[in-house]
Amino acid sequence: MTTAALQVTDLACRRGGRRVFDGLSFSVKGGELLALTGANGSGKTTLLRALASLGRADAGTIVWQGADIAWLGHLDGLKGDLTVRENIDVAERLRGVTPDRQRIEAALASFDLAALASRPVRTLSAGQRRRTALARVAASQANAWLLDEPFNALDMASQKSLRAVLAQHLAAGGLAIAATHVSLDMPGARSLELGA
Protein backbone atom coordinates (compact mmCIF):
# COMPACT_ATOMS: atom_id res chain seq x y z
CA MET A 1 0.00 0.00 0.00
CA THR A 2 1.43 3.40 -0.97
CA THR A 3 1.40 5.94 1.84
CA ALA A 4 -1.00 8.86 1.70
CA ALA A 5 -0.61 12.21 3.40
CA LEU A 6 -2.93 15.14 3.93
CA GLN A 7 -2.06 18.74 4.70
CA VAL A 8 -4.86 21.20 5.53
CA THR A 9 -4.02 24.88 5.93
CA ASP A 10 -6.24 27.75 7.12
CA LEU A 11 -9.43 26.03 5.99
CA ALA A 12 -12.64 28.01 6.38
CA CYS A 13 -16.20 27.09 5.59
CA ARG A 14 -19.43 29.06 5.72
CA ARG A 15 -22.93 27.72 5.18
CA GLY A 16 -25.98 29.94 4.83
CA GLY A 17 -24.06 32.97 6.10
CA ARG A 18 -22.94 31.08 9.23
CA ARG A 19 -19.28 30.36 9.97
CA VAL A 20 -18.93 26.60 10.35
CA PHE A 21 -15.17 26.64 10.96
CA ASP A 22 -12.34 29.00 10.29
CA GLY A 23 -8.51 28.90 10.20
CA LEU A 24 -8.38 25.14 10.51
CA SER A 25 -4.92 23.63 9.98
CA PHE A 26 -3.79 20.05 10.53
CA SER A 27 -1.98 17.22 8.85
CA VAL A 28 -2.49 13.46 8.74
CA LYS A 29 -0.12 10.86 7.36
CA GLY A 30 -0.09 7.12 6.77
CA GLY A 31 -0.61 5.07 9.92
CA GLU A 32 -2.63 7.83 11.62
CA LEU A 33 -6.28 8.07 12.51
CA LEU A 34 -7.80 11.50 13.05
CA ALA A 35 -11.11 11.54 14.88
CA LEU A 36 -13.17 14.64 14.19
CA THR A 37 -15.24 15.32 17.28
CA GLY A 38 -17.58 18.07 18.36
CA ALA A 39 -21.20 18.83 19.04
CA ASN A 40 -23.94 18.40 16.45
CA GLY A 41 -23.62 21.11 13.81
CA SER A 42 -19.97 21.80 14.61
CA GLY A 43 -18.96 21.03 11.00
CA LYS A 44 -17.63 17.46 11.16
CA THR A 45 -19.51 16.29 8.09
CA THR A 46 -18.86 19.58 6.26
CA LEU A 47 -15.12 19.19 6.87
CA LEU A 48 -15.13 15.54 5.85
CA ARG A 49 -17.00 16.33 2.62
CA ALA A 50 -14.60 19.17 1.85
CA LEU A 51 -11.65 16.80 2.38
CA ALA A 52 -13.23 14.36 -0.08
CA SER A 53 -13.89 17.19 -2.60
CA LEU A 54 -17.61 16.51 -2.22
CA GLY A 55 -18.13 19.93 -0.66
CA ARG A 56 -16.37 23.22 -1.14
CA ALA A 57 -14.34 25.22 1.31
CA ASP A 58 -14.48 29.03 1.26
CA ALA A 59 -10.82 29.57 2.06
CA GLY A 60 -7.64 27.63 2.71
CA THR A 61 -6.02 24.67 1.02
CA ILE A 62 -6.38 20.90 1.12
CA VAL A 63 -3.41 19.01 -0.30
CA TRP A 64 -3.51 15.23 -0.64
CA GLN A 65 -0.41 13.27 -1.57
CA GLY A 66 -0.62 9.75 -2.97
CA ALA A 67 -4.15 9.31 -1.70
CA ASP A 68 -6.70 6.86 -3.00
CA ILE A 69 -9.86 7.73 -1.07
CA ALA A 70 -12.60 5.37 0.13
CA TRP A 71 -15.72 7.14 1.37
CA LEU A 72 -18.35 6.20 3.90
CA GLY A 73 -20.97 8.92 4.12
CA HIS A 74 -23.74 9.55 6.58
CA LEU A 75 -25.88 7.55 4.13
CA ASP A 76 -24.66 4.05 3.37
CA GLY A 77 -24.49 4.43 -0.43
CA LEU A 78 -25.91 0.94 -0.94
CA LYS A 79 -28.45 -0.20 -3.51
CA GLY A 80 -31.26 -2.07 -1.80
CA ASP A 81 -31.98 -4.41 -4.70
CA LEU A 82 -28.37 -5.59 -4.97
CA THR A 83 -26.92 -8.18 -2.64
CA VAL A 84 -24.24 -7.36 -0.06
CA ARG A 85 -21.53 -8.88 -2.26
CA GLU A 86 -22.81 -7.17 -5.43
CA ASN A 87 -22.79 -3.77 -3.70
CA ILE A 88 -19.13 -4.20 -2.73
CA ASP A 89 -18.20 -5.56 -6.16
CA VAL A 90 -19.88 -2.66 -8.03
CA ALA A 91 -18.29 -0.06 -5.73
CA GLU A 92 -14.83 -1.41 -6.55
CA ARG A 93 -15.55 -1.40 -10.27
CA LEU A 94 -16.84 2.19 -10.06
CA ARG A 95 -13.47 3.08 -8.54
CA GLY A 96 -11.94 1.62 -11.69
CA VAL A 97 -10.49 -1.33 -9.77
CA THR A 98 -10.96 -5.02 -10.51
CA PRO A 99 -12.49 -6.43 -7.30
CA ASP A 100 -10.07 -8.49 -5.22
CA ARG A 101 -12.12 -11.55 -4.25
CA GLN A 102 -9.90 -12.39 -1.28
CA ARG A 103 -10.12 -8.88 0.12
CA ILE A 104 -13.90 -8.88 -0.30
CA GLU A 105 -14.30 -12.21 1.48
CA ALA A 106 -11.95 -11.06 4.24
CA ALA A 107 -13.90 -7.80 4.65
CA LEU A 108 -17.20 -9.71 4.77
CA ALA A 109 -15.76 -12.03 7.42
CA SER A 110 -14.40 -9.09 9.44
CA PHE A 111 -17.88 -7.65 9.79
CA ASP A 112 -19.58 -11.03 10.22
CA LEU A 113 -21.41 -10.67 6.90
CA ALA A 114 -20.41 -13.91 5.18
CA ALA A 115 -23.79 -15.51 5.85
CA LEU A 116 -25.62 -12.42 4.57
CA ALA A 117 -23.48 -11.88 1.46
CA SER A 118 -26.11 -13.15 -0.97
CA ARG A 119 -29.03 -11.31 0.59
CA PRO A 120 -30.44 -8.11 -0.96
CA VAL A 121 -29.46 -5.13 1.15
CA ARG A 122 -33.10 -4.01 1.46
CA THR A 123 -33.75 -7.05 3.66
CA LEU A 124 -31.05 -6.09 6.17
CA SER A 125 -31.34 -4.12 9.39
CA ALA A 126 -29.80 -0.64 9.74
CA GLY A 127 -26.82 -2.07 11.60
CA GLN A 128 -26.26 -4.79 8.99
CA ARG A 129 -26.42 -2.17 6.22
CA ARG A 130 -23.85 -0.06 8.06
CA ARG A 131 -21.60 -3.09 8.38
CA THR A 132 -21.99 -3.71 4.63
CA ALA A 133 -20.95 -0.13 3.89
CA LEU A 134 -17.96 -0.55 6.21
CA ALA A 135 -17.05 -3.83 4.51
CA ARG A 136 -17.13 -1.96 1.20
CA VAL A 137 -14.54 0.46 2.57
CA ALA A 138 -12.44 -2.34 4.06
CA ALA A 139 -12.54 -4.32 0.81
CA SER A 140 -11.31 -1.34 -1.17
CA GLN A 141 -7.64 -1.08 -1.86
CA ALA A 142 -7.78 2.60 -0.89
CA ASN A 143 -5.14 3.99 1.46
CA ALA A 144 -7.19 6.94 2.79
CA TRP A 145 -10.51 6.26 4.48
CA LEU A 146 -12.95 9.08 5.15
CA LEU A 147 -15.70 7.89 7.47
CA ASP A 148 -18.75 9.88 8.56
CA GLU A 149 -20.17 8.48 11.80
CA PRO A 150 -18.91 4.93 11.11
CA PHE A 151 -20.22 3.66 14.47
CA ASN A 152 -23.84 4.64 13.72
CA ALA A 153 -26.28 1.76 14.28
CA LEU A 154 -23.49 -0.68 15.22
CA ASP A 155 -23.86 -3.02 18.20
CA MET A 156 -20.95 -3.59 20.60
CA ALA A 157 -19.58 -6.59 18.69
CA SER A 158 -19.61 -4.67 15.40
CA GLN A 159 -17.95 -1.66 17.05
CA LYS A 160 -15.18 -4.01 18.18
CA SER A 161 -14.87 -5.39 14.64
CA LEU A 162 -14.60 -1.85 13.25
CA ARG A 163 -11.83 -0.98 15.71
CA ALA A 164 -9.94 -4.14 14.68
CA VAL A 165 -10.32 -3.33 10.97
CA LEU A 166 -9.21 0.27 11.55
CA ALA A 167 -6.16 -0.93 13.50
CA GLN A 168 -5.29 -3.30 10.67
CA HIS A 169 -5.63 -0.47 8.12
CA LEU A 170 -3.37 1.84 10.15
CA ALA A 171 -0.81 -0.93 10.67
CA ALA A 172 -0.67 -1.41 6.89
CA GLY A 173 0.23 2.29 6.51
CA GLY A 174 -3.24 3.58 5.64
CA LEU A 175 -4.70 6.77 7.07
CA ALA A 176 -8.24 7.33 8.29
CA ILE A 177 -10.28 10.37 9.24
CA ALA A 178 -13.54 9.71 11.03
CA ALA A 179 -16.27 12.09 12.15
CA THR A 180 -17.53 10.45 15.32
CA HIS A 181 -19.02 10.85 18.77
CA VAL A 182 -17.38 7.60 19.90
CA SER A 183 -14.01 7.69 21.64
CA LEU A 184 -11.30 6.13 19.47
CA ASP A 185 -8.44 5.32 21.78
CA MET A 186 -6.14 3.15 19.72
CA PRO A 187 -2.49 3.42 18.68
CA GLY A 188 -2.03 6.14 16.03
CA ALA A 189 -5.32 7.86 16.87
CA ARG A 190 -5.73 11.49 17.85
CA SER A 191 -8.69 13.81 17.80
CA LEU A 192 -9.55 17.24 16.50
CA GLU A 193 -12.46 18.91 18.24
CA LEU A 194 -14.48 21.24 16.06
CA GLY A 195 -16.47 24.15 17.42
CA ALA A 196 -14.19 24.32 20.46
Binding site: R49, L75, L78, K79, D81, L82, R93, L94
Partner: protein, 221 residues
Protein backbone atom coordinates in the same frame (compact mmCIF):
# COMPACT_ATOMS: atom_id res chain seq x y z
CA UNK B 1 -14.46 2.09 -19.40
CA UNK B 2 -14.66 -0.50 -16.60
CA UNK B 3 -16.55 1.98 -14.43
CA UNK B 4 -18.86 2.88 -17.35
CA UNK B 5 -19.69 -0.80 -17.95
CA UNK B 6 -20.11 -1.45 -14.21
CA UNK B 7 -22.58 1.40 -13.78
CA UNK B 8 -24.46 0.51 -16.97
CA UNK B 9 -24.79 -3.11 -15.85
CA UNK B 10 -25.69 -2.09 -12.29
CA UNK B 11 -28.57 0.12 -13.46
CA UNK B 12 -29.87 -2.55 -15.85
CA UNK B 13 -29.67 -5.14 -13.07
CA UNK B 14 -31.61 -2.84 -10.74
CA UNK B 15 -34.36 -2.45 -13.34
CA UNK B 16 -34.52 -6.21 -13.91
CA UNK B 17 -34.90 -6.76 -10.16
CA UNK B 18 -37.72 -4.21 -10.04
CA UNK B 19 -39.38 -4.49 -13.48
CA UNK B 20 -42.59 -2.80 -12.28
CA UNK B 21 -41.11 0.65 -12.90
CA UNK B 22 -40.63 -0.08 -16.62
CA UNK B 23 -43.96 -1.88 -16.93
CA UNK B 24 -45.74 1.23 -15.59
CA UNK B 25 -44.01 3.40 -18.22
CA UNK B 26 -44.94 1.06 -21.07
CA UNK B 27 -48.49 0.63 -19.75
CA UNK B 28 -48.88 4.41 -19.64
CA UNK B 29 -47.71 4.63 -23.25
CA UNK B 30 -50.19 1.96 -24.37
CA UNK B 31 -53.14 3.42 -22.44
CA UNK B 32 -52.43 7.03 -23.45
CA UNK B 33 -52.15 6.24 -27.17
CA UNK B 34 -55.10 3.83 -27.40
CA UNK B 35 -57.39 6.43 -25.83
CA UNK B 36 -57.28 8.45 -29.06
CA UNK B 37 -58.63 5.80 -31.48
CA UNK B 38 -61.23 4.90 -28.85
CA UNK B 39 -62.27 8.52 -28.36
CA UNK B 40 -62.24 9.64 -31.98
CA UNK B 41 -63.78 6.50 -33.45
CA UNK B 42 -63.15 4.80 -36.80
CA UNK B 43 -62.20 7.94 -38.75
CA UNK B 44 -59.10 6.50 -40.34
CA UNK B 45 -58.01 9.67 -42.16
CA UNK B 46 -58.09 11.80 -39.02
CA UNK B 47 -56.40 9.07 -36.93
CA UNK B 48 -53.60 8.65 -39.48
CA UNK B 49 -53.06 12.42 -39.53
CA UNK B 50 -52.68 12.73 -35.75
CA UNK B 51 -50.86 9.41 -35.23
CA UNK B 52 -47.34 10.86 -35.36
CA UNK B 53 -48.09 13.60 -32.87
CA UNK B 54 -49.96 11.32 -30.49
CA UNK B 55 -47.31 8.58 -30.50
CA UNK B 56 -44.43 11.02 -30.08
CA UNK B 57 -46.14 13.05 -27.34
CA UNK B 58 -47.14 9.88 -25.45
CA UNK B 59 -43.57 8.53 -25.79
CA UNK B 60 -42.20 11.80 -24.41
CA UNK B 61 -44.55 11.77 -21.40
CA UNK B 62 -43.83 8.08 -20.78
CA UNK B 63 -40.07 8.70 -20.85
CA UNK B 64 -40.45 11.63 -18.45
CA UNK B 65 -42.32 9.41 -15.98
CA UNK B 66 -39.22 7.35 -15.33
CA UNK B 67 -36.65 10.15 -15.59
CA UNK B 68 -37.46 11.58 -12.17
CA UNK B 69 -35.79 8.53 -10.56
CA UNK B 70 -32.73 8.59 -12.85
CA UNK B 71 -30.48 10.22 -10.24
CA UNK B 72 -32.92 10.56 -7.30
CA UNK B 73 -32.34 7.07 -5.89
CA UNK B 74 -28.55 7.55 -5.98
CA UNK B 75 -29.02 10.92 -4.27
CA UNK B 76 -31.30 9.49 -1.59
CA UNK B 77 -29.20 6.42 -0.69
CA UNK B 78 -25.81 8.15 -0.86
CA UNK B 79 -24.57 6.26 -3.93
CA UNK B 80 -24.22 9.60 -5.73
CA UNK B 81 -21.25 10.40 -3.47
CA UNK B 82 -19.51 7.26 -4.72
CA UNK B 83 -20.14 8.32 -8.33
CA UNK B 84 -18.81 11.82 -7.63
CA UNK B 85 -15.68 10.36 -5.99
CA UNK B 86 -15.00 7.77 -8.70
CA UNK B 87 -11.70 8.45 -10.44
CA UNK B 88 -13.23 8.18 -13.93
CA UNK B 89 -14.97 11.07 -15.67
CA UNK B 90 -18.37 11.80 -14.17
CA UNK B 91 -19.57 12.58 -17.70
CA UNK B 92 -19.02 8.92 -18.61
CA UNK B 93 -20.99 7.81 -15.56
CA UNK B 94 -23.80 10.14 -16.62
CA UNK B 95 -23.70 8.65 -20.09
CA UNK B 96 -23.88 5.13 -18.64
CA UNK B 97 -26.97 6.05 -16.64
CA UNK B 98 -28.68 7.75 -19.61
CA UNK B 99 -27.80 4.79 -21.84
CA UNK B 100 -29.33 2.31 -19.41
CA UNK B 101 -32.40 4.54 -19.13
CA UNK B 102 -32.73 4.50 -22.91
CA UNK B 103 -32.36 0.70 -23.07
CA UNK B 104 -35.23 0.19 -20.63
CA UNK B 105 -37.55 2.96 -21.84
CA UNK B 106 -36.64 4.50 -25.21
CA UNK B 107 -35.92 1.20 -26.92
CA UNK B 108 -39.10 -0.60 -25.74
CA UNK B 109 -41.18 2.50 -26.61
CA UNK B 110 -39.71 2.52 -30.14
CA UNK B 111 -40.47 -1.20 -30.56
CA UNK B 112 -43.97 -0.88 -29.13
CA UNK B 113 -44.98 2.21 -31.11
CA UNK B 114 -45.51 0.50 -34.52
CA UNK B 115 -47.87 -1.99 -32.91
CA UNK B 116 -49.91 0.88 -31.51
CA UNK B 117 -49.65 2.68 -34.84
CA UNK B 118 -51.77 -0.06 -36.40
CA UNK B 119 -54.72 1.20 -34.32
CA UNK B 120 -54.32 4.57 -36.09
CA UNK B 121 -54.48 2.95 -39.53
CA UNK B 122 -50.86 3.77 -40.44
CA UNK B 123 -49.40 1.99 -43.48
CA UNK B 124 -46.22 -0.09 -43.42
CA UNK B 125 -43.88 2.75 -44.35
CA UNK B 126 -45.35 5.04 -41.69
CA UNK B 127 -45.06 2.31 -39.06
CA UNK B 128 -41.40 1.87 -39.95
CA UNK B 129 -40.94 5.65 -39.74
CA UNK B 130 -42.52 5.72 -36.27
CA UNK B 131 -40.13 3.02 -35.03
CA UNK B 132 -37.05 4.53 -36.68
CA UNK B 133 -37.69 8.11 -35.59
CA UNK B 134 -38.31 6.98 -32.01
CA UNK B 135 -35.16 4.85 -32.10
CA UNK B 136 -33.10 7.83 -33.19
CA UNK B 137 -34.97 10.49 -31.21
CA UNK B 138 -35.52 8.90 -27.80
CA UNK B 139 -31.81 9.04 -26.81
CA UNK B 140 -32.17 12.84 -27.01
CA UNK B 141 -35.17 12.66 -24.68
CA UNK B 142 -33.16 10.56 -22.20
CA UNK B 143 -30.30 13.07 -22.24
CA UNK B 144 -32.51 16.18 -21.98
CA UNK B 145 -34.53 14.48 -19.25
CA UNK B 146 -31.27 13.55 -17.53
CA UNK B 147 -30.27 17.21 -17.43
CA UNK B 148 -33.65 18.21 -16.00
CA UNK B 149 -33.46 15.34 -13.47
CA UNK B 150 -30.01 16.45 -12.33
CA UNK B 151 -31.03 20.11 -12.08
CA UNK B 152 -34.09 19.28 -9.98
CA UNK B 153 -32.31 16.81 -7.68
CA UNK B 154 -33.35 17.36 -4.08
CA UNK B 155 -36.00 19.94 -5.03
CA UNK B 156 -39.53 19.68 -3.71
CA UNK B 157 -42.07 18.72 -6.40
CA UNK B 158 -39.14 17.73 -8.58
CA UNK B 159 -41.39 15.76 -10.95
CA UNK B 160 -43.36 18.82 -12.02
CA UNK B 161 -40.20 20.93 -12.23
CA UNK B 162 -38.52 18.27 -14.32
CA UNK B 163 -41.40 18.30 -16.81
CA UNK B 164 -41.38 22.11 -16.96
CA UNK B 165 -37.65 22.12 -17.71
CA UNK B 166 -37.51 19.17 -20.08
CA UNK B 167 -40.66 19.61 -22.19
CA UNK B 168 -39.65 22.87 -23.95
CA UNK B 169 -36.20 21.45 -24.72
CA UNK B 170 -37.79 18.34 -26.24
CA UNK B 171 -39.97 20.33 -28.65
CA UNK B 172 -37.55 20.24 -31.65
CA UNK B 173 -37.18 16.46 -31.34
CA UNK B 174 -40.95 15.96 -31.17
CA UNK B 175 -41.52 18.32 -34.13
CA UNK B 176 -39.09 16.47 -36.40
CA UNK B 177 -40.25 13.05 -35.18
CA UNK B 178 -43.87 13.92 -35.93
CA UNK B 179 -42.87 15.65 -39.15
CA UNK B 180 -41.28 12.45 -40.46
CA UNK B 181 -44.60 10.62 -40.28
CA UNK B 182 -46.49 13.53 -41.88
CA UNK B 183 -43.89 13.69 -44.65
CA UNK B 184 -44.72 10.12 -45.64
CA UNK B 185 -48.42 10.98 -45.77
CA UNK B 186 -47.64 13.80 -48.24
CA UNK B 187 -45.55 11.47 -50.40
CA UNK B 188 -42.14 12.76 -49.31
CA UNK B 189 -39.48 10.59 -47.76
CA UNK B 190 -38.58 10.93 -44.10
CA UNK B 191 -34.81 10.79 -44.60
CA UNK B 192 -34.28 14.49 -43.91
CA UNK B 193 -36.29 14.36 -40.71
CA UNK B 194 -34.38 11.28 -39.60
CA UNK B 195 -31.08 13.01 -40.33
CA UNK B 196 -32.13 16.05 -38.28
CA UNK B 197 -33.20 13.79 -35.40
CA UNK B 198 -29.80 12.07 -35.57
CA UNK B 199 -28.09 15.48 -35.56
CA UNK B 200 -30.11 16.54 -32.49
CA UNK B 201 -29.14 13.28 -30.77
CA UNK B 202 -25.46 13.83 -31.57
CA UNK B 203 -25.65 17.43 -30.32
CA UNK B 204 -27.24 16.23 -27.08
CA UNK B 205 -24.60 13.51 -26.75
CA UNK B 206 -21.79 15.99 -27.29
CA UNK B 207 -23.00 18.63 -24.84
CA UNK B 208 -25.48 17.41 -22.25
CA UNK B 209 -23.30 14.93 -20.29
CA UNK B 210 -21.13 17.88 -19.23
CA UNK B 211 -24.15 19.89 -18.11
CA UNK B 212 -25.62 16.92 -16.24
CA UNK B 213 -22.29 16.22 -14.52
CA UNK B 214 -22.01 19.87 -13.44
CA UNK B 215 -25.56 19.79 -12.04
CA UNK B 216 -24.78 16.57 -10.15
CA UNK B 217 -21.63 18.08 -8.64
CA UNK B 218 -23.71 21.05 -7.43
CA UNK B 219 -26.37 18.73 -5.99
CA UNK B 220 -23.66 16.78 -4.17
CA UNK B 221 -22.36 19.84 -2.30
Amino acid sequence: MTAFAALFRRDLRLVLRRPGDVVVVLAFFVVATTLFPLGIGPESNLLARIAGGVLWAAALFAALLSLERLFASDYEDGALDLLLLAPGALELAVLAKCASHWIVTGLPLALLAPLLGVAFGLDGQSLAAVALTLLVGTPTLSLIGGLAAALTLGARKSGALLALLALPLCVPTVIFGTGAIEAIATGEGFGVHLAILAALALMALATLPWGIAAALRLAGE
